[in-house]
Each structure stands twice: as C-alpha cells, then as structure tokens.
C-alpha cells in the first residue's frame, strides 16, 4: 500500500467525513480496488467507524473490495442496449472468458461488469473495455474486440480497431 498517496488523498479532502465517498473513489484509483488494509488505515486516520466505510463500500456499485483485471469490460445493460440484444452480448463474453458478472479472469486480464447505462444510447448496444467504447456490438463481434487486449501473439488476425 502506497501510504504517501493515501495520505495525500486524505489531505486533499481535508479529512472531512462528509467527503468519505469521494475519498474512497480517489483511493480506488490507486489499485483499481479497495484493499482491506487500506480501508482499515483510512478508518483510523479519519477516526471514522470501519462499519460505516464498509457500508459505503458495499452500497455503491462503483466500489470493489476484490482485485480487478487490467481491463474492465463493462457491458451496458441500459434499456436501449437491452432492446438491441445486450443480454446476448453479455452471455457471449461470459462464455468466451468463462467468468460471471463481477468476476475476473484467472490471468487478471479482464474483469466483467455490467452497467445500468452509459448514456450512449444512440449507439446501442454499447460495450466498453477500459476506456474504449464499442458501438452496435453483437455476439459475432465480441471475440475480435476482446482479442485486441491480449499480447500480439494471441490476437486474432483481423482484430478490429
């Protein structure tokens, strides 16, 4: 755990209890999840009950208490995406990677998540990998999309950009 970074985040928010959600969002950016020992440390520093911190960490969907993969796949399941077949896309990702929602592949390459809506509804169905958006996704496209994120040797020949 990088204590310096943690302390500077607490500093930035002035150790204010009202900003604990923002603090935790910033903390999560360090390692892509919230390690337990980090939360314990923060609880001590803020003099804020650990129960309250875990309450927040488990209530809000943006927090993860387990390590996540290098690339987070977010399949948008908003209404427009759902009508466009988001469920079929989600199933295809699960089949290909052999993970369920909220899980991470063994090689830590991908974590699979769903999201309620990304606000890109005119491009439905949308799937995001890391910061890359893919629009009009259908099950036949998924293997190619994912293959882009493997080292070159493992990529499909015509992985799309």
């Amino acid at each position: 755990m990088d204590l310096k970074k943690v302390d500077s985040i607490l500093e930035k928010h002035g150790y204010r209890h009202s900003e604990v959600i923002g603090i935790m969002q910033d903390l999560q950016e360090i390692e892509n999840y919230l390690p337990q020992e980090m939360l314990r440390y923060v609880s001590g520093k803020l003099e804020l009950n650990l129960t309250r911190i875990f309450d927040i960490a488990t209530f809000y969907k943006c927090f993860s208490l387990v390590p996540r993969g290098r690339h987070i796949i977010r399949v948008c399941c908003g209404t427009a995406c759902h009508l466009g077949g988001a469920a079929r896309n989600l199933e295809q990702v699960k089949r290909l990677l052999n993970v369920e929602e909220g899980e991470t592949t063994e090689d830590l390459t991908f974590s699979l998540e769903t999201v309620n809506c990304l606000g890109a509804c005119a491009l439905a169905p949308v799937t995001v990998v890391g910061k890359d958006y893919y629009d009009a996704v259908h099950p036949g496209k998924i293997e190619k999309i994912l293959s882009k994120y493997y080292p070159e040797s493992k990529r499909l020949p015509d992985a799309q950009d």
């Binding site: 969002q25 309450d55 809506c117 606000g119 491009l123 958006y133």
Partner: protein
C-alpha cells in the same frame, strides 16, 4: 484573463471577444462529447490539428471542440462554417478533404452529407434535415455551437447576461415569481412546479440554504442531462447561481453520475473558469452576493437520484431515502432548506430570466410549459437527442423527427419515463406529449427517455427487464419495495422462461397495488408501472407466454427457435464456421439447417448473416 466586477465589465468583455474574432476565419466544429468520442472523434480532432499545423493554416482555420448536436447516431459530427456543412460519420481519412475542399474553397463534400433514405438526396445544412426540422432548441441551443470548455465562448453568445439581469435588475422575490409565472415544472421526473419549490424554500426559516443540481441521470436510456453537462455546463451553473440568489443560498452542489467522466471534467473546468472570471465566488458582479459551487460524484446507485437519498449521499453516507415530509425545501442538506432541481431544470432558468415568463409560458400546453429534451432511442431510424415544445405528438417525434422504424418493421410501443414509466401503444400515437397526458396513459414524463420498440421487442421481457433493474437498485429499506420487486421478478422470470401459470397476471396486479400504496419512496411506488402498462396494453403477449408457451417477438430464449429460411440462404457457410456449438449443417452454396438440440441461441448466426436468412420461430 478578465475578472468581471460589474455588469459593464461583462458587456465589455463580450464585445471584445466578438471583436477579436476574425470573420474571415473558417471554423471547423468537431463534437467531443461521449457519443462522438465513442466513435473516435478524439482522433478526428487530432488529425485536424495536425493537418492545420502541417499546412500552416493556423490563421485561416480554427478547430473548435463542441458539445452534442443530438444526432448522435450520425457521429462523429463535424460542422464547417461559413458553408454550414453538416458532415456525418467523419473519420480521420476525411480530414484532408474537409480542410482542402470545404475550409479553403467553400466546396461542400457530397459523400459526407446526410442523405435522405428514400430520395437519396444530400442535405447540406443541419436545419434542412428532417431530424431537426420539427425541433425547437431552447435548452440545447448552445450545445454543438460553443466550446463547452471555454467560458468566453459562452459569454460571446450572451451567457451570464441572465445572471447580470437577475442580480441587478430584479429582487430575489422577483426572480422567484418570474419562475413561478413561467410555469416550468421539474425536468427530473416528478414534474413539481419549480417556482413553487423555490418560493417554499425562500420563505423557509434558516440562514443557511443550499442549491443542489441533480445530475445523477439514473434512468437507463436517457442521456439529455449528460449532454447538457458536457455540452453547455455554464448554463447549468448560471441557473444555479440565479437560484441561489433567489432563495438566499450561498453554496451549490452538483451531484454527477460517476459513469459520466466527461461531464465531470467539463463541469469542473466550467466552475474553475467562472471563479476566475469572478462569476462565482465573492461579491459576484459587484452586487455583494457570494456563491460557490462544488461537485459531488455519485457512486453508481440508482436510488441516489431520489432527492432525499441524494442529499444523504452528499453527506457522505450510503444513500437510502427517508420519508417525506419534511421536504428538502424545508429540511434538506444538513437539515437546512434546500432547493434540489434537475440539471435541465436549471439550464432553463437563464432563458426564462432573460426572455421573461410570458415568452416561456407561450410554449407548451395548458399544464406543461416550455420545451423538453427527449432521448429518442431504440428502434427508430434516427436516434439521438431531440428538443421539442411540450405538446408535440408522439407521431411527430417518432415518425417525423425519428424517421419511423428501422428496417421497415412495425412500431409496437414507446417506453417513456424509465423504470418508473410505462409502455404506450400505437393507439395513442397521436397523443400530445406532456406531463399529464403521459400520466393518464399509464406512463410518466420522467427525465425524458423515449425508447421505441418494434415487433421484435417482447413486452413481457421489457417488464421483466425493468423489474430486474429495480430489484438490484432497491435499497432494501422498506419491505413492499424490497420483497415486492423480488416476487414480481420471480413471476415475470417464470413467464419468460415458459413456467407461467394461470393467475400470474392477477397476482402481479395485486402485488403492484401493495407496492404503489405502501412503498417508502417513489422507486418502489412507481416500480409497478412498467408491468401494469404492459398488462394494460399488451395482455395478449402475456397470455401467449403463459398459455401457449410462445414468445411472439422471439426474445425469450426458452420460447423460440432459430431457423434458416431455405429460400434466402445461399450457403455462404459463414454461420456454420462461426457457430460455437457446431449446430449448423450444410454444404457450400446449399441452404443450411440448424440443429435445435445443439443450438444454445447465442445469436451469433442471427447477427452475422448478411442475407437475413436466419429467423426466429
């Protein structure tokens, strides 16, 4: 940088910004908000900047990052002035042509223009495209025209004049009464009259009051708030400062959905610039009025869009709603009187203050004034954000603006209001859209999602989808919502998977009654709407699922099969090679068949077939 201390400073600055502009200079506007960025508009901007640098055209051509034009489906969108050419689906390969032809020679490039699907006629300017013709852009007027990351662009088009007018030529009570007289109702869902809310809050006892803008936009399928926050953030900020002045608040908070990184970025930049220019902070425009704004990021919980939960979330706790009254206008953030409005509501305020209440209330219907942005998505041909006067009919929105249904399929229903809303059938297509008509039809205005469905959309599945969504988003505090949603979901899931029973429809209606009456907040209280409205208008689909074990739309996996149309299939083998189950058989150049025993209905063959030979049965 100019610190603005008085009204005349503001006017001087505006004049000097306009004077600095070179009328000879060509402006190439590239949309840089989420929709177009998803289609790599960032790379298009880089390519333009390179091209300009390489050709040494810095004095002749300006690249401007703009907000959303609304026609997101056609993105990345590029508009070149002065020819006003509206280019669709622009890629990096088009950049050289746009610069050499349109920017330098005023020649319009035909291949990049929008084409009428029937006549194939190319249309040059945005205003001549049918998608825009019936729109009335008031709130979204600036978006797509100005650079949202540059306050001077906003000031140049008259930004912050309403603030100047409000702070110097009006009293706080005068502002409140103007908003009351305009008749504007909240754009976030409930449709409560905004002026009345402000009046209640301004007369509530207490020295400390707050303004909160709700940018949580939880309704899946709606994204007008994102577009405003990204494309015209200053209009929201200006509305909030005016609100603060009107009710006597000195602090404002914008609560933004965590899934919207660009909105957070643009709002942060806008706040910082407004502070630097003296439009936020101490002694605004020399009037002695102080006001600050900060951003609070959401955590990805739908229920936190509800006002009491949102306030608790800002206080740094897990956001679960509490019973009302007391309403936030009396007892809000930290127990103080708080005006909480949707971001689109705030973006309307500067227009109302500047143009006056009568101008505003002239638009719309008896009970709903002004304009509303809808996110027209789903199976319509033209999808994107559309702003229309209240009272425009569904037919005008879906068929004239939206261009009708894709792939010549038949219109089945339009879903409005998100998870609290309902599905409206074809029989109501000529209904003028406003708060009251939508409620009478069993739906609600909500935040303005409008999801068009065709014959391939299963209405039972849509109901199940929303209940599933809400079941996960229910905070669990009250029993009717927590348990009611779980039971409803169980019943709907059974129906969709072929285990529906006689009596299920009645049971759903009973549960709905309890949830509507007894839930703590509107999440549970309105949750039955998607179920009730689909039962009301599409009972036959429920019955087909329950009694015939058949999904007419071909969505519910257990209730249909994929088959290959033997006449259409030309034996290209694409599907056979891609099928993960090896469930497709056939010789090259001869029609193929699917083995239903092996098929897992992954949908790959269906989505990749170039001849649309795969059908659902």
């Amino acid at each position: 940088m100019h610190r603005i201390r008085t009204i005349s400073d503001l006017e001087e600055l505006r004049q000097s910004i306009l004077a600095k502009r070179d009328p000879e200079k060509v402006v190439i506007g590239v949309c840089c908000t989420t929709g177009c960025q998803a289609r790599r508009s960032g790379k298009v901007i880089d390519a333009f900047e390179n091209e300009i640098r390489e050709k040494g055209l810095q004095d002749k051509v300006e690249i401007k990052k703009t907000g959303c034009h609304g026609f997101c489906e056609m993105g990345p969108i590029v508009v070149v002035e002065p020819t006003n050419s509206f280019y669709c689906r622009v890629g990096t390969k088009d950049v050289t042509d746009i610069v050499s032809e349109t920017a330098l020679k005023d020649k319009v490039i035909d291949r990049l223009l929008w084409k009428h699907p029937a006549t194939k006629e190319a249309v040059v300017s945005q205003n001549d495209i049918p998608f825009y013709k019936k729109q009335k852009k008031v709130v979204s007027h600036n978006s797509g025209r100005i650079d949202p990351t540059n306050i001077e662009d906003y000031i140049a088009v008259g930004g912050y004049s309403a603030l100047a007018k409000g702070l110097t030529a009006m009293t706080p009570a005068g502002v409140v009464e103007t908003v009351v007289a305009s008749g504007i109702r909240g754009r976030g869902g409930g449709g409560f009259p905004t002026g009345i809310k402000w009046r209640i809050c301004s007369s509530a006892p207490g020295d400390t009051k707050y303004i909160i803008a709700n940018g949580d936009e939880g309704d899946p399928g709606a994204y007008m708030d994102r577009s405003l926050m990204e494309g015209d953030p200053h209009s929201i900020i200006e509305g909030m400062i005016i609100g603060g002045f009107a009710i006597g608040a000195r602090e404002g908070i914008i609560y933004v959905r965590d899934e919207y990184p660009i909105a957070i970025q643009h709002l942060s930049m806008a706040i910082k610039q407004a502070e630097e220019y003296g439009l936020l902070g101490h002694d605004i425009l020399g009037t002695g009025f102080d006001f600050t704004i900060r951003i609070s990021r959401g955590g990805g919980a739908f229920v936190c869009g509800e006002e009491t939960a949102l306030i608790i979330s800002i206080e740094g706790k897990s956001g679960t709603p509490r019973a009302r009254p007391p309403y936030p206008a009396i007892e809000g953030l930290w127990g103080n009187p708080t005006v909480l409005n949707n971001v689109e509501t705030f973006a309307n305020i500067p227009k109302i203050v500047l143009n006056g209440a009568p101008w505003y209330s002239d638009m719309g219907t008896a009970g709903s004034k002004g304009t509303k942005i809808f996110s027209l998505v789903g199976k319509a041909k033209n999808t994107g954000l559309v702003e229309v006067k209240m009272g425009t009919t569904l037919r005008e929105i879906i068929f004239d603006i939206g261009g009708g249904i894709r792939k010549s399929k038949r219109f089945k229903a339009v879903q409005t209001g998100g998870p609290s809303g309902g599905c409206i059938p074809i029989s109501k297509i000529d209904m003028p859209v406003d708060y009251d008509s939508l409620r009478d039809a069993g739906a609600i205005m909500g935040s303005g999602g409008m999801i068009v469905m065709d014959e391939t959309s299963c209405m039972v599945d849509v109901a199940r989808y929303f209940i599933h969504f809400l079941m996960f988003e229910s905070c669990g505090k009250c029993v009717p919502c927590r348990e009611g949603l779980k039971q409803m979901h169980e019943i709907l899931k059974n129906i969709c998977e072929g285990r529906g029973q006689r009596g299920d429809i009645e049971l759903l209606s009973d549960l709905a009654g309890v949830m509507t009456t007894a839930s703590l907040c509107a999440l549970g209280g309105t949750a039955p709407n998607p179920v009730l409205s689909t039962i009301r208008y599409f009972r036959d689909e429920y019955e087909a699922h329950i009694f015939e074990k058949r999904c007419p739309a071909g969505v519910c996996k257990n209730l249909f099969e994929y088959v290959i149309n033997q006449e259409r299939c030309n034996g290209c083998t694409l599907c056979r090679l891609r099928c993960p189950q090896e469930a497709i058989f056939g010789e090259k150049k001869k029609p193929h068949v699917i083995d239903p025993q092996r098929c897992i209905k992954c949908g790959i063959c269906y989505s990749i077939c170039k001849r649309e030979a795969i059908r659902v049965k």
